[in-house]
Assembly symmetry: C2
Homo-oligomer: 310 residues x 2
């Protein structure tokens, strides 16, 4: 499968039917995961509100984790060292543990792991990683996911606009700054990480309204203003007050935002189409730059060096 096919497989991924089984009782959810796997937990945290959710993205877990905690390890490879370390600690504390993984060591560390298909880059498996959470916690319906499938398909039918955005970034060697809109800050972070891993360029993300308390002061006068490329992610769910903030910020700071819209009515459709559009832009940017969007050799070498094997 070439990398564009991997990206396009998102359409089928949203029809994935496995789900996390919830424990009978739990008072909070802790999700451990790094990078392309961890993003699933971050997106879940942005939209699930029925219990406190805490994200773990390092080796240790917070003190409160105990038998009342539902602890979910997410690692596509199943071998991420930070996530394994966190999961081991959670088991010692007696937490109720679950996992979403394609295999590796984590498969054998929890009683009933959700096993997802192998063979993709972790970041291309975002559907497989996220759907079991959304289904397990009952925050999507089949009809939402049916809508997501068709909006993703529609998005993929004509990708020329995403190629054009990639060309604009490329030709000016511009640094993408991705602004999400609350509660979808995690989607903007997903875009940032795709620019990093696919296109091999630095990028950063923030979100409205938080950025109105800091970035806003820099937008007008910053160094290298013309060298940034500002993208704002919106949808039909963007609150009117946030739309006003976007408009006023653009006017006051004399800056243009390229507004990219999540398609559809359901939260699932909005999330997945926004992800998909970012995947395309970062993919086309990699092509323009003549870098291999799939290449993560440096991350792999870093992991080996940490283990002391090279």
């Amino acid at each position: 499968m070439d990398y564009l096919e991997e990206i396009n497989s998102l359409r089928d991924q949203v029809s994935f039917r496995k789900e996390i089984s919830l424990p009978e009782k739990f008072t909070s959810v802790v999700i451990a995961g790094m990078g392309g796997s961890g993003i699933a937990g971050r997106i879940f945290k942005d939209i699930y509100g029925a219990k406190p959710v805490v994200i773990v993205d390092s080796y240790s877990i917070p003190k409160f984790v105990d038998s009342s905690t539902f602890f979910i390890a997410i690692s596509y490879s199943g071998n991420t060292e930070e996530t394994i370390s966190a999961l081991e600690e959670a088991k010692k504390r007696g937490a109720k543990v679950a996992a979403i993984t394609s295999g590796g060591m984590i498969e054998d560390m929890v009683p009933d792991p959700v096993i997802i298909p192998r063979g993709l880059q972790p970041r291309s498996a975002i559907g497989f990683l996220l759907i079991p959470l959304l289904r397990g916690f009952g925050i999507v319906t089949d009809s939402d996911l049916g809508e997501a499938r068709s909006t993703i398909e529609k998005t993929g039918r004509d990708t020329s606009y995403y190629e054009q955005v990639a060309m604009e970034i490329h030709s000016g060697k511009r640094i993408p700054v991705i602004y999400g809109t609350s509660p979808f800050g995690s989607i903007a972070y997903r875009w940032k990480t795709q620019f990093n891993e696919n296109a091999k360029i630095l990028s950063y993300s923030s979100y409205f309204p938080e950025l109105n308390h800091n970035d806003t002061m820099a937008l007008e006068k910053t160094f290298r203003k013309d060298e940034f490329y500002f993208i704002v992610l919106t949808s039909g769910q963007t609150e009117p007050i946030l739309r006003r903030r976007i408009k006023i910020t653009s006017e006051l700071c004399n800056v243009s935002f390229n507004e990219i819209n999540g398609e559809g009515n359901s939260t699932a459709s909005i999330i997945f189409t926004l992800i998909h559009k970012g995947d395309y832009i970062s993919y086309f940017l990699a092509r323009y730059r003549n870098v291999d969007p799939r290449d993560v050799a440096i991350i792999e070498e870093l992991k080996e060096r940490l283990k002391g094997t090279i």
Copy 2:
């Protein structure tokens, strides 16, 4: 008081003795706050682990908030519209509410607010905003804060190095990228926001080990590599595995990190000295750029336009 005096007032702020009173029982902590006020909640979340902590940085609160939630509103002015909206909703849900503020509307919205001194920029009041949390939750001792006071004083005795770093950033018109080390990602974010508000330049932050799963792939080949200025924040508490990650990342990606160290043994001393050093660098950078570090006119105008008053 000139702005440098505001920054230097941190030394006295850490001796502030007021504290949040904890409710007898609560199952989670929700902290609402934006920008320079919200950062206190973010730092608290990074170091307090005894209960789940959820940060609210927009208008609404998660569904789980109820009478078992300890909800803390942090707003220096007491008039931040997002925080007021979140606090109103929390009160309707019957949450146990508290606030840290210098006055404004929020002062009258909770039974026993922690009132902190007026007259500073919110971001200069980080000691006043954070100490009541650290004291109230019992995660600092008087001896920790005594150490913090003397390490802050020591840091302020010779600021020539921070001036030099500011000059390096200024002379190359470089974009500061601040990498924290887990669990202190929030301190790196504080630096980012100080570059935004004081020096009026864009900047971003991330932290080890999470950045090893994304930024790392961009560091070697990114557009404009020589135009970034990389700072890594460490301390005597930085785990050996994270130190190895920093070293290997620098080697593999062929990038220099300017490592800046939090002084002292206690977490409080590390946090406050790291904050203080970032304050100096962003202040001196503002001076070199001939911008007023205190000026937040755009943020104020944005707030007025949102209210429809202009």
